[in-house]
Symmetry: C2
Subunit: 220 residues, 2 copies
Amino acid sequence: MADSNLPSDADLRAEYSETERQIFDAALRVFARKGRAGARMQEIADAADINKAMLHYYFRNKETLYGEVFAFTMRRFMASFGASLKEAPTFAETLRVFIDGYVEFVRTNQDAMRLMVNENLAGGTHLGEHLKRLKASGDAPPQIFVEKVEAAVASGEIRAVDPDHTLVSVISTCIFFFVMRPTVQTIHAEAASDWGEFVEARKEHLFDLLYHGLVPDADA
Amino acid sequence: MADSNLPSDADLRAEYSETERQIFDAALRVFARKGRAGARMQEIADAADINKAMLHYYFRNKETLYGEVFAFTMRRFMASFGASLKEAPTFAETLRVFIDGYVEFVRTNQDAMRLMVNENLAGGTHLGEHLKRLKASGDAPPQIFVEKVEAAVASGEIRAVDPDHTLVSVISTCIFFFVMRPTVQTIHAEAASDWGEFVEARKEHLFDLLYHGLVPDADA
DNA sequence: AATTGGTTTAACCGTTTGGTTGAACCTGCC
DNA sequence: GGCAGGTTCAACCAAACGGTTAAACCAATT
């Protein structure tokens, strides 16, 4: 789970002071829950337990605050579980690690996920530069996964699927049920009564469905 | 594609006047693009080409306007492509119709989709009653699909998968790439240059991946 | 022609919100 | 002690926003 050769959560924020970190966490929470427009500077200040003027002292205005919070969230996404993915020996293992990695990341970073989805829903103007850096780095989970799919297709370990579409499909199934959690919980009884249990069951289901969908038939 | 025994888009709004329909469309657009908090009454009025006071004349305030727009959007979701799904003879056909139905619905109702996702992201307090009615009606695509999955499992046409999880997985893959469109288009070259083509390719990929994932191995 | 009831408009109002100001307050340093 | 730089705060401000008002308009009805 821990990637010792990648920056940890704390490292990523090393450049920030204690007060700035407080503001950061508060801002992420409020932006994620209320949306970019719905977030109130006063509420962020309250949540960070500081005066409202301090917000504008540390971050000039709402836009730059949002920009920095978003940038940090993006960096956090990139830094997650890349290494363990590379080391996976078989494609089955790759798929397991990828599913587990994404589901666990979203489970423990729901606010980050909400921020990301909100940004996309609003047009995603802040995404550009970050995604390009992600693409350039070559170390992010999505890229590694695509490479692994390509290799597995070449070796015949899985069928001749489109790697990019496969990536989108797998990520979708790992994240979307968190996005639609209220709907899922209204329709699905078990999800409502024990979400943790539901998430675990879902990881099993996903591996089963997707692995079976990717692997060739036993014989013919 | 057309379900003659279900209310059409026009029917659903028959109770509304011309002006109200204008307001409706404008409100949906603005709420979907700017979010519930980010939407401005003035902007909705401008988009509907009426005076701002008219908004408050027809819909008492922002909350009731949002509530009505959301309720209408919900009804539209329920009324889509249920019948053709029931008539599908094989499970393969069921899956094809379901994928095609959902993808096409979201493609042609992106604002409705955005509204729905936004509502879920914000906690989904408006969902309750509507989803219960959907559950009670028994005619909505998700329920029909679950029944078809159960039947196909029983007949051995597909493997012993969990029908509810399968439903969530299929819907996720049909919708999430629309939600994350800006990200997908930044990463995927073809999606950026020709989105329509990408959507078509995606439908093919999804059927292939999911059908293969659900169906038993050819032999053993 | 006068009345009625729904519709439309410009001007207005009170509150909320993002952002500013200027003074007070530390803390380390000479 | 006294200065200097960064930090904290209550009070303040202008703009934006949701919502209201009162008068005007217009098509039926009598």
